[in-house]
Amino acid sequence: MTVDVALTKKDFTSDQEVRWCPGCGDYAILSAVQAFLPELAIPREDIVFISGIGCSSRFPYYVDTYGMHSIHGRAPAIASGLALSRPDLKVFVVTGDGDGLSIGGNHLLHALRRNVNITILLFNNRIYGLTKGQYSPTSEQGKITKSTPMGSLDNPFNPLSLVLGAEATFVARSIDSDRKHLTSVLREAATHQGSSFVEIYQNCNIFNDGAFDVLKDADTRDAATIRLEHGEPLQSATQSVIRAADGSLELVDGLRDDAVRHDAHAEDPSYAFGLSRLTTPTPIGVFRSVERPTYDRLMAEQLETARAAASDDADGMLGALLSGTDTWTVA
């Protein structure tokens, strides 16, 4: 599954006109992904992008690999079938906060608990873009949108808490505009064995402009983010995360020596879960990355075991199956 001839970003750019709104954060993500893909050294034909429906879900059209723009919310299920039946492929899922957490929430979570070998990129713009601006399961409570003129009532999901509760083995977060960070997260996610989940904060400049500005603006971003690096202290530019007496993660001012050191490989997801509850400042990077047997490998093993015990004579085997053990003969 490796290539000799080095591929370039251009090889991953399809001939389709990109149809997002000018200024949409999706452009930056597309560009980052296209630029990153050659690194994987996987031939284009062995890569598949599967998406649901939404602005974000137009993604596959623009990447010159195999792809499917499926139906709303179902990409993780479709990708699961593909990845299980074709473990030789590298399968990506692209989804949105509505597609992946509203209508498709269940498929997403079940794929994660099964640890199917797929890399899930969730573009979180905290809004329904394609249907022109209703609130989403990640919109903040009280949000005024087309469908909530007096403000939304729903308490939002914290996507990372949610997927950690669903036994995800790889969980990360990045930002559309931070190409370098996004690329490094993509790298880890795409090479993880099993399901990996990456939330990407994405600006929808039409319906929810500026949602993540504080994490992006040069003057606020360093204080507003905690960049996660395995083994490194949990710190923003101005604050540290320490372990409180009651065991919880506590935010304190200053860059302190007793800041908790990030452990992305902790078996127990409780640590990552605690981390996911921090919102200001916002941790970005890999929250959790642990190994667990992948569903497709386990399935392949069962098939191999069953086949090893079987005969090579396909028709003979089929004949034996059809006859069963209880036959009689009419002569």
Partner: protein
């Protein structure tokens, strides 16, 4: 009936030869009636009789003991000639308790033989089912031939000293009943004894007890005076070959495995359990040695989604369900129509609407299969006509799906799924093949994912992993040829018509609708589809045996219809369409061919009896003969 002289080693009692028998085993859900029926079927099949079976059990796992809703029954008909149905009514009813008697009596015709387990006829048990007086003594059973047998006590007696506790010992009473019936109909014992040994291999005590109970039942028949004669049913004349007994769900599973193997495609099942389809999942889960992957998904939508994903990857995607599950899969079927990928959707129909009658049969998902999607969304529909025919129907569904790159409905039902019949096992090597014809090379002029084969209108199937053919597909309308998103009005109209024409064109690849009209003089045609084949054929055979003329045709393909369908229908004065629904095929036939078809409809959760159909058909024949005289 013929009594023939006994051979020296034959049993002591006289043996009568009978031509056909319908037996119904009925007892509590926990009494093992299904197993008893299946074993009796296996013994009978081995003798070369033709058979049809009909398991009839409640929706609850174990409904409260001794109640009418808790009764589980198994009916079979076996004969020395062709058997088309499990029989309208039992000749022999084995009733293991008052509830079984109470629930089955209405369908047991006067004069029938009833074997009762008298031990269960206690005051309490009688009261439980609303018998104020004991039906054995109040005249209720007057016109039946009743055999009262203390089955429980006799079983316990036989197992004394077996080392089993009373409760466990009692559980063997179905084997006593089986032994008794096996004696009564001179069934071979070896198969059952072998079966018991295998089944309880890990529990030798239990195995021994079951064997003992079985033998006790047999001896009871042979020695007591309750039964004066035993019966024999000669083998039915059948084409030469190796036979087995098979249920519809099993035949359907095997048909899919065989078709996939013959197409060289790995089979991928994405499914979510639902009665009466779950057994297909169970069967396929045990066939990993055939490269079959089974994926129990989180719901029906994920099940079909995964199957479609697998089809995209070059597997034969399959999903199995019943009506409520199809409802959930609807949107994804629409996607499959748009993607034009092979996909098999098995719908084992059950009573509806909504949750309905989960363990009962019905044919009321036809509209849903043919028409139940948003947009113009044509899907071919294939239906098997008998349990064993599920094998062929499954292979046909795969042929269509692979050849035409389309989702295909395979419409079975609860009656076919659990019913069984003898099956002439086909030769694996000579089963038909179908070529997936993957596109593997970049065609000259570039690859067009929505170009079409001129004959079939099928588009190319190029799977991930094929260099140079990278492409994207999706559910938005696609430009003819390139498959790029297109909102062009003319293109949309063209694509809608192309998809319709592709499915309509399948008619060119299927055999014309055959009519069975031996006299050539019938003016009534009975048109059926699916599992009504047996009862219709039985009714027609009955009518013909009394000199009546009536024609039969049975649709395997519900969409598209065979090319000659209209012609066939118009050749008859009257077309009768019996269906276990309120007239779904009728509407389609009337609308498509403008033929004034008459429906005969029942929605009782049960297959038609042939007697009902005889009445319905003869009513029309009568009209025919009195034509002009009114």
């Amino acid at each position: 009936m013929t009594t023939y002289p006994q051979s020296p080693d034959a049993p002591a009692k006289p043996v009568e030869i009978v031509s056909r028998v319908v037996i119904r085993f009925a007892g509590d859900s926990g009494d093992g009636m299904q197993l008893t029926g299946e074993r009796f079927t296996a013994e009978t099949a081995g003798l070369g009789n033709d058979i049809a079976t009909f398991p009839d059990f409640p929706a609850e796992i174990r409904a409260p003991a001794g109640t009418v809703p808790g009764v589980s029954a198994f009916q079979l008909q076996f004969a020395d000639t062709k058997v088309l149905t499990p029989g309208d009514h039992p000749d022999v009813l084995v009733a293991m308790n008052p509830a079984a008697l109470k629930s089955q009596l209405p369908i047991t015709p006067r004069g029938a033989t009833i074997v009762l387990n008298t031990d269960e006829f206690t005051r309490r048990n009688l009261a439980k089912v609303g018998y104020e007086r004991d039906p054995r003594s109040d005249g209720t059973l007057e016109s039946y031939q009743v055999h009262e047998v203390a089955i429980t006590a006799l079983t316990l007696g036989a197992l004394e000293g077996s080392g089993l506790g009373k409760k466990d010992a009692e559980r063997a009473k179905n084997m006593f009943a089986l032994g008794l019936m096996s004696w009564l109909y001179n069934r071979p014992r070896e198969g059952t004894l072998r079966f018991i040994d295998a089944k309880f291999a890990k529990k030798p005590l239990v195995a021994a007890a079951n064997v003992k109970a079985f033998e006790a039942g047999w001896s009871f028949g042979e020695t007591t005076e309750t039964f004066a004669v035993s019966y024999e049913v000669a083998p039915a004349p059948m084409p030469k070959g190796v036979y087995r007994n098979i249920t519809g769900n099993l035949a359907l599973s095997y048909g899919l495995v065989a078709a996939a193997q013959k197409a060289g495609l790995p089979l991928f099942l994405g499914s979510y359990p639902i009665t009466p389809a779950s057994d297909i999942l169970h069967t396929l889960a045990g066939l990993k040695r055939f490269g079959v992957r089974t994926f129990q998904a989180e719901d029906e939508i994920a099940g079909i989604g995964a199957a479609l994903g697998a089809s995209f990857g070059g597997s034969l995607g399959l999903t199995t369900t019943s009506g409520p599950g199809v409802a959930l899969k609807t949107e994804t079927i629409g996607l499959a129509v748009s993607l034009e990928l092979p996909l098999i959707i098995v719908d084992v129909q059950r009573g509806g609407p909504s949750t309905g009658l989960p363990t009962k049969t019905e044919q009321a998902d036809l509209f849903q299969a043919v028409l139940g999607r948003n947009g113009e969304s044509p899907v071919p529909v294939v239906a098997p006509q008998s349990p064993a025919d599920c094998f062929d129907a499954a292979m046909e569904a795969v042929r269509i799906a692979v050849t035409y790159r389309t989702p295909v409905f395979l419409l079975s039902d609860g009656y076919l799924a659990n019913g069984s019949e003898p099956w002439l096992v086909p030769d694996a090597a000579s089963l038909p093949t179908v070529d997936p014809a993957f596109t593997t090379e970049l065609p000259e002029g570039g690859f067009l994912p929505y170009s079409r084969d001129p004959e079939t209108l099928a588009r190319p199937w190029a799977v991930p992993g094929t260099p140079g053919l990278e492409h994207r597909i999706g559910g938005l309308e696609k430009a003819d040829g390139t498959g790029n998103i297109s909102y062009d009005p003319a293109n949309h109209d063209r694509m809608v018509r192309l998809r319709a024409a592709k499915v309509a064109g399948i008619a060119r690849s299927i055999p014309p609708l055959a009519v069975d009209d031996p006299s050539g003089e019938a003016d009534v045609l009975v048109l059926g589809w699916g599992s009504t084949y047996g009862p219709i054929a039985a009714a027609i055979a009955d009518i013909r045996s009394r000199g009546g003329n009536v024609a039969q045709a049975h649709l395997r393909h519900l969409a598209p219809f065979p090319a000659n369908t209209g012609e066939v229908l118009r050749a008859y004065r009257t077309v009768l369409i019996p269906e276990m629904n309120l007239g779904q095929l009728s509407l389609l036939i009337r609308g498509t061919f403008l033929v004034d078809a008459v429906g005969f409809n029942q929605v009782r959760g049960l297959p038609f009896t042939s007697a009902e159909l005889v009445d319905a058909i003869e009513g029309l024949l009568g009209n025919g003969t009195t034509e002009g005289s009114a």
